[in-house]
Amino acid sequence: MELIIEGLEKRFGNFIALQGIDLTVRTGMFGLLGPNGAGKTTLMRILATLIPKSKGRVRIGSFDLDREPHKVREILGYLPQAFNTYRNLTAAEVLDYVALLKGIVDAKERRKEVDRVLEQVNLSRRSRDKIGTYSGGMKQRVGIAQALIGNPKLLIVDEPTAGLDPEERIRFRNLLGEISGDRIVILSTHVVADIESVCTDLAVLNQGKLVYRGTPEALARRAEGKVWSLTLDAGELSRLNEVRILARRQTANGLQIRCLSPSRPSPHATQVAPTLEDGYMATVGSEAAGMAS
């Protein structure tokens, strides 16, 4: 199955949230990276049939998003950015409800499906507890569980690790890695580490435009020859030109920085191999990373 997006545009009044998005996504784990406000959630909500697009065409498998939104919903699993659900119900009740609404009308079949996804997200033992008593991570697992009900062909997961502690985040990434299988999974996030661990294909959005499309390795290579490591005094930092600081750490020997620069920023600087994050920063070029004056 393929997801094909052609010339997608979305306007909110005069504000252009998405412009000229052309994308083809095949089966597997696909990452969508971008800073806050890039348009990732807007794109996810369009694909999830929640908001209409202003221009362009989207096909999911054999279904046109405009003409057959109901068909799209039948093969869709969606975990939104801020997931919550009925606090007075148990996880089993919520999942049973979602299963019914997804078309599993037979009660026995529903029970089997609910048990399957609960097992998959490791919530079987707490399934009879009310969701209001769950931790944030457990709620997210309920979220992914409801998205997995009915074995959807298209799974959209929007910022799933936001607000999770490191352990939960790792657990979630592992779970995502397990479920890609023979479906399209679109993982939208601004946390590069989430993409790095599970995605084989990705795109980068910035200010509503697609600024990169390719593999994580190729994205990392974009920063090749431009990533430097050096140690200097704090006072010397201001003398660096055209340098984007990626990381800084105060050591006994001085300020150790990792930076992005088209040329060697200092005679003491050492070129290092770029990571995915470096490639992302090189592509997005965000000022928040801390340009040296």
Partner: protein
């Protein structure tokens, strides 16, 4: 595939409905709302307790029923917006459920809200009935049906408003506020008079039984407004379902534009048509009644005096003063099951010697079938008049046979209610509207200022002998201002005979029950008469006092409990003597049943509550409250004679006599606590018409007599006046003569030792 997909759709709709039901039952909003309604219900009942259940619900529904609608709107608004509030909205909207199915699933889920509230009310009703120790009656069934219909309509209205607002307003809190505002506005509209501009608001009001246009009673239930109530409920149901359907169409249009809206729109149109037809029928009903009132007023007030001259002279308009008089009536009434009355009226006439053309006034809603008699040559009907031509050898008897089912409405303070009517459910007939032939021509009403006023002038120059025989359906019972002569039940029919010497006959009938406690006889709705027996002690005290004051044995008049709305027509004003006693009574200028005590249902409840309080506390205030209305009735029976269908207050001499006896009563009850000086200052400060001044003069004459000749002199005078009223009224000259007589008697024998 289509069959399978349809099965899936239905399963989803019912799945959503079941989930919604579960979520409602687990929601705080619903149970807090129910608790609020319970509190309102219990609170209102506590305030009005003790009362018969029908009255409790009539009084108590002003808060609980609109509260039910408000709570329903809030609960359903929260229910419809649940996904947004629980941050589940995006998932909810991305599920493969057609948006119309989501909507209808939620609508079906609101049946839980309806069930909870209807069950709540159904639980309350028998509990209240049990606690109030009241027997079941036909009006109780009417109350129950009315309440369930009312609550169901209010619930549907709340659901309809909440559902349609959900599709129109995105923000859940704004929706809730708008919904509450709508209900509050339509509840408040019933604070205003019921006219063309407020009729529409009343249609959307969330309560009915206690509503402005209608008059629920323990005796008759919602009669005679049942048809209007039916249209009212149908309109609310139609409008509510139309709102629900409209909400569905809007919801679907917004979320699923490709889907056809024609089926939904057609459903909306059908329901709007139902609501529209019901509203139109409702409006038409009131318009017809209003037209009837106007026509009746125009007819009865504007019917011109007969043009032809009459023997013995006849005033062109106004009173029954004429040479023709009736000295005896023999009325035989046969009341059919369908409410039509067939009457044979045999009249013994005076003043017809020499023959001639004579008018009798008989309301035009009675169809005259025959006028017969040894001397009747010819007769004809003209408006409210029956003309008879009597031959020279005019025998004094004539028999008029007539039939009908008159129904007269009246508008008072914006409310329309019947005031003189006969029906299969019951009725009331006042002689002032000539339900039997009155001598001469009489204009029945005056409507010169736009208000209908009954002609209160005496109907007969002197009281006549009346013999009335009534036969009616088994379920009916009848009371009259005349004394009971005989009652029996034969062949499934109730038969009653009344006789007496009176200025007229008034009739009240319906499914009356009777109770007796000592000398106190009561007749009225079954749920009320048992309550009324608690008035026996105050009643006895009151009568005993007056008997001692007048030195006469006073007939123990029965107490008839009538629907409150029957009392609407009569002019109300305050009478100052009892104002000073801390009460503000509203008197009726035209007594319903002559000298017989008449209490409205709420007046009875208030009197019983006061009687209970008096038994516990023995306070003056509570005793006055317990005897207030009985006292007014007693004054009418003592000082209203011989024209008991005309208020004693219209005769200044009678009024002065009554003020004196009330003053004595106040001293008797309150003792030294009664501030007579302030009372007299109030009397002195009243606006003074000539009649007021005359009444004051009578009062001060009696007080002077007491000072100069002692209390026994006054009692003697009162006794003589009482005797005199058996045959004729007193004027100032008559009063002066009595004063002279008593003074003379005392002076001749010397004053008794004080």
């Amino acid at each position: 595939m289509k069959v399978v997909s349809e099965r899936f759709r239905k399963a989803k709709v019912w799945g959503i409905a079941r989930m919604e039901s579960r979520l409602y039952l687990r929601s705080r909003e619903l149970w807090i709302g129910l608790a609020i309604v319970w509190l309102a219900l219990v609170g209102m009942m506590w305030v009005h307790w003790p009362s018969p259940p029908e009255l409790l619900f009539t009084l108590g529904d002003f808060v609980p029923v609109p509260m039910t609608a408000l709570v329903t709107i809030l609960a359903v608004t929260m229910g419809f917006g649940r996904e947004e509030r629980e941050s589940f909205g995006d998932i909810w909207n991305s599920l493969p459920v057609r948006n119309a199915d989501q909507y209808w699933g939620k609508i079906w889920g609101t049946r839980t809200v309806m069930a909870v509230f209807v069950f709540n009310w159904l639980l309350v009703l028998p509990v209240v009935w049990y606690l109030s120790d009241t027997a079941w009656s036909p009006s109780a069934a009417s109350t129950l049906v009315g309440y369930v219909a009312q609550v169901a309509a209010a619930l549907l209205l709340g659901i309809g408003i909440a559902a349609s607002l959900h599709s129109a307003i995105p923000n859940v809190w704004v929706r809730a506020a708008v919904g509450v505002g709508i209900i509050l506005a339509f509840s408040l509209v019933q604070r205003f008079d019921f006219d063309d501009s407020t009729q529409w608001g009343v249609l959307l009001s969330p309560y009915i039984v206690g509503g402005v246009p209608y008059g629920h009673s323990s005796l008759f239930g919602m009669f005679p407004w049942e048809r209007a109530v039916l249209w009212h409920v149908l309109f609310q149901i139609g409008a509510s379902l139309a709102l629900v359907a409209l909400g569905g169409v809007m919801y679907q249009r917004r979320r699923d534009p490709a889907r056809s809206v024609y089926p939904g729109a057609a459903a909306v149109l059908c329901l709007v048509a139902l609501a529209g037809v019901s509203a139109a029928m409702y409006q038409r009903h009131w318009r017809d009644v209003d037209q009837t009132v106007l026509q009746q007023m125009a007819y009865d007030a504007g019917t011109t005096a007969p043009a032809a001259a009459v023997s013995g002279g006849l005033p062109a308009t106004g009173t029954a003063a004429t040479l023709l008089s009736v000295i005896a009536y023999d009325l035989t009434i046969n009341a059919a099951e369908d409410g039509v009355w067939h009457i044979v009226a045999a009249l013994t006439l005076a003043g017809v010697e020499g023959g001639g053309r004579f008018p009798l006034t008989l309301h035009h809603q009675w169809s005259v079938l025959d006028v017969a008699g040894p001397s009747v040559a010819r007769w004809e009907r003209e408006a409210n008049v029956v003309w008879m031509e009597l031959r020279d050898d005019a025998a004094p008897t004539v028999t008029i046979t007539y039939a009908g089912r008159p129904f007269l409405w009246h508008r008072w303070a914006g409310r329309l209610s019947p005031f003189h009517f006969v029906s299969a459910r019951g009725g009331y007939l006042t002689p002032l509207m000539a339900w039997y032939p009155l001598p001469g021509y009489r204009q029945l009403v005056d409507a010169s200022d736009g208000y209908l006023r009954l002609n209160g002038e005496p109907m007969l120059t002197a009281p006549a002998e009346f013999w009335v025989q009534w036969s009616g359906p088994q379920s009916m019972s009848i009371v009259s201002n005349l004394a009971d002569w005989e009652r029996e039940e034969t062949d499934g029919r109730q038969n009653a005979t009344f006789r007496g010497h009176s200025d007229g006959v008034s009739i009240f009938f319906g499914p009356l029950e009777r109770e007796r406690a000592g000398d106190l006889q009561l007749a009225g709705a079954s749920s009320l008469v048992r309550w009324g027996t608690e008035l026996s002690e105050p009643y006895e005290k009151l009568y005993a006092f007056y008997a001692a004051l007048l030195g006469r044995s006073i007939p123990r008049e029965p107490v008839i409990i009538v629907p409150d709305w029957l009392l609407n027509i009569y002019t109300e004003y305050r009478w100052s003597p009892l104002e000073r006693l801390g009460r503000y009574p509203l008197l009726r200028t035209s007594p319903l049943l002559g000298a017989v005590h008449v209490l409205g249902e709420r007046e009875l409840v208030a009197a019983v509550a006061a009687a209970r309080e008096w038994r516990q506390t023995q306070t003056v205030e509570s005793f006055f409250a317990a005897t207030e209305w009985l006292h007014h009735g007693l004054l009418q029976s003592v000082w209203g004679r011989p024209h008991v269908h005309r208020s004693y207050l219209q005769n200044p001499v009678h009024k002065g006599l009554a003020e004196y006896t009330v003053l004595q009563w106040a001293h008797f009850v309150a003792g030294t606590d009664f501030d007579s000086e302030r009372f007299e200052q109030t009397l002195a400060g009243r606006p003074r018409t000539a009649e007021e001044r005359l009444a004051a003069q009578v009062l001060s004459s009696l007080q002077q007599l007491e000072q100069t000749h002692g209390r026994s002199a006054v009692q003697r005078l009162l006794g003589l006046a009482y005797d005199r009223l058996e045959t004729s009224e007193l004027d100032w000259g008559d009063f002066q003569a009595l004063l002279q007589t008593v003074r003379g008697e005392i002076d001749a024998v010397g004053q008794p030792e004080s």
